[in-house]
């Protein structure tokens, strides 16, 4: 029994997968807190899809993939902003059109170039096919993003909570906004190998959502987000090994299960507690009337 449980840890590709997934989930969990607090869930989804043409072109041109992905991601947000300001449409409508269009463009472009990656790997990740070089690369990116967000977290909290105050005390709101977008693109690219374009949004939203449900202060929210993302990565990969399922969807599924549990049973903001509070206060009102 114990042997069966420990077996995955002795295999090279499983070690690589676990290490990469854990490092990446820390970075995406830290970022996810701000996506949730800023209401950027759709934005995260949009950028993660819109990077595809940038990735394809970067592969074809032989430049670092991150640069292509970042340019495409920026193009998506800027185009969305421009079209929203210059039409009667709402932002989410425009965003839906832009990101699906860019994603489609990426898929079409893909057939024009001979690239030695499979589209399937970009879309759904290829966490079991990593090399140690990939692992160290991801580790460096994840560490960089996590550190940057951590040391600037107080500025980012003000940016999300009260940008007016941020400007009044001389914070550069614009730099922070675009800095966060840049980090988001970087993490999305780093996450491609692990979960792929389609499911990266799961890693970028669910941990923050879980933290938000569990806590009333930012630092504990962050801890819950990291814990849930790391926990889901480890259990997801191990489970996929024994179930012989694809690891990326298994990780995201674990996050989803955690989210549902938290939604129901969270100590203060969970559904059951909220309902009970509502019932108690109603009963209190009724008894005070009688």
């Amino acid at each position: 029994m114990l042997e069966l449980l420990l077996q995955p840890f002795t295999i090279d590709f499983m070690q690589q997968a676990l290490l990469t997934a854990v490092l990446l989930s820390v970075a995406s969990a830290v970022l996810s807190c701000f996506l949730v607090l800023r209401g950027w869930a759709l934005m995260g989804d949009a950028i993660s899809h819109a990077v595809l043409p940038g990735i394809v072109l970067a592969y074809a041109a032989g430049i670092p993939v991150v640069i292509g992905a970042f340019i495409a991601g920026m193009l998506c947000t800027l185009a969305t902003g421009f079209m929203t300001e210059n039409s009667r449409l709402k932002e989410d409508t425009v965003m839906g059109v832009v990101f699906s269009g860019m994603f489609a463009l990426g898929v079409v472009l893909f057939s024009f170039f001979t690239i030695d990656v499979h589209l399937h790997e970009i879309l759904f990740g290829d966490i079991l096919g990593l090399t140690w070089r990939d692992v160290w690369q991801t580790a460096a990116v994840a560490l960089l993003c996590t550190t940057l967000v951590w040391i600037k977290r107080k500025d980012l909290i003000i940016l999300s909570f009260d940008p007016q105050h941020g400007r009044a005390i001389g914070l550069s709101v614009k730099t922070l906004h675009y800095g966060l977008l840049i980090l988001l693109s970087i993490v999305i690219v780093a996450a491609l190998e692990v979960v792929g374009i389609v499911l990266v949004i799961g890693l970028l939203i669910a941990p923050g959502a879980i933290g938000y449900m569990m806590s009333d202060s930012f630092d504990t929210m962050l801890m819950y987000a990291i814990a849930s993302a790391v926990g889901a990565s480890i259990t997801g990969i191990l489970l996929s090994f024994s179930l012989d399922s694809a690891p990326a969807p298994t990780i995201v599924l674990m996050l989803m299960i955690m989210f549902v549990l938290v939604f129901l049973f969270a100590p203060v903001h969970g559904l059951i507690r909220t309902k009970r509070r509502a019932r108690l206060s109603k009963a209190g009102v009724e008894s005070s009337i009688q």
Binding site: D162, Q164, I169
Partner: protein, 311 residues
């Protein structure tokens, strides 16, 4: 003592010919000039869409000025902002009350401009937060999440943040929205004590009833500054009619509505968007004659009998 607290120093806020044109070509404020002396509570009064919030943004440098300039304590506004001179108290509606921050976190945000690159609070920062919370009587709520507070408590937290920021100039956006009269009075008392320390408070409001109660100075605005100066000079019927135009309602209760004798005096009630409930008479409620307003411009809004019961 800092020269900024000197009442004879440069005026708190001075705007010269400020024009703000948004990117879509809409000019929200044109050629606005006014001057607010130090140690003043000043009301910025105008209807919705008259440019109150644009003027706030112009003072804080959030919008580029097409013409003109703003000076704060005699210095260009941009430089004043970098030195933490200006604090902003947002409207309750503009704040995400579900945000995972505690009361003391919000007040600590006022100290950020005084901290270094990493924004590590020092002992002094903690002391400022504590004394600010104590002063607004919110110390016992310091580790509550902000959404768990009442409307007035929420306001006091943001006032504490302005105190912790040690700002000379405090801009308050509709501070009496969603606040009961008792809380309003305690906020006014707090603002008075802050004024007596030499600070300038610029309060945007469309609540005419409370203006004479708390203000020394009034700026009337409708796309431009119509009048500015000491409250008793500016806050007149003619000026208000000018500022509010058709939106303003006048309820004039003539002598014959009020009493049976020949007294010809009238009671004039001026409101902008709420119908006042006016009681007139002796203190015994049974003897009071209740006069629902005989409005000259009766709108078709829902009746809202909640105005000021002062008369």
């Amino acid at each position: 003592m800092d020269d900024s607290t000197n009442q004879n120093g440069p005026p708190g806020i001075q705007a010269y010919n400020v024009t703000v044109t948004y990117r879509n070509g809409h000019t929200a404020v044109r050629d606005a000039s006014f001057s607010i002396p130090n140690a003043t509570i000043c009301a910025l009064v105008g209807v919705n869409g008259s440019g109150k919030s644009t003027l706030f943004k112009a003072i804080m440098g959030f919008v580029p000025l097409a013409t003109g300039s703003v000076e704060i304590l005699g210095k260009p506004a941009g430089r004043a902002l970098k030195r933490n001179t200006v604090a902003y108290v947002p409207q309750n509606e503009d704040v995400d009350w579900d945000f995972p921050v505690l009361v003391e976190d919000v007040v600590m945000m006022g100290r950020f401009g005084h901290m270094g690159f990493l924004h590590r609070p020092s002992k002094k920062d903690h002391q400022h937060v504590e004394s600010a919370l104590k002063r607004v009587d919110m110390l016992e709520y310091r580790d509550r999440q902000i959404g768990q507070l009442s409307g007035g408590q929420k306001k006091r937290v943001f006032l504490a943040r302005a105190l912790a920021q040690e700002s000379q100039i405090i801009l308050l956006d509709e501070p009496f929205g969603g606040v009961d009269v008792k809380t309003e009075e305690s906020i006014i008392a707090l603002m008075r004590s802050m004024r007596d320390e030499g600070r300038v408070m610029l309060v945007s409001t469309h609540n005419l009833g409370s203006v004479p109660q708390f203000c020394d100075h009034v700026v009337l605005i409708n796309r431009t500054v119509l009048a500015d100066g000491p409250a008793e000079e500016v806050f007149t019927r003619e000026n208000l009619e000018h500022a509010f135009g058709g939106v303003l309602r006048f309820h004039v209760l003539g002598g014959q509505d009020l009493h049976d004798d020949d007294d010809a005096r009238e009671v004039t009630v001026i409101t902008d968007d709420e119908r006042p409930f006016v009681l007139y008479g002796e203190n015994d409620p049974a003897k009071q004659s209740v006069k629902q307003n005989s409005s000259k411009q009766s709108g078709n809004r829902k009746d809202n009998p909640s105005g000021s019961p002062d008369q």
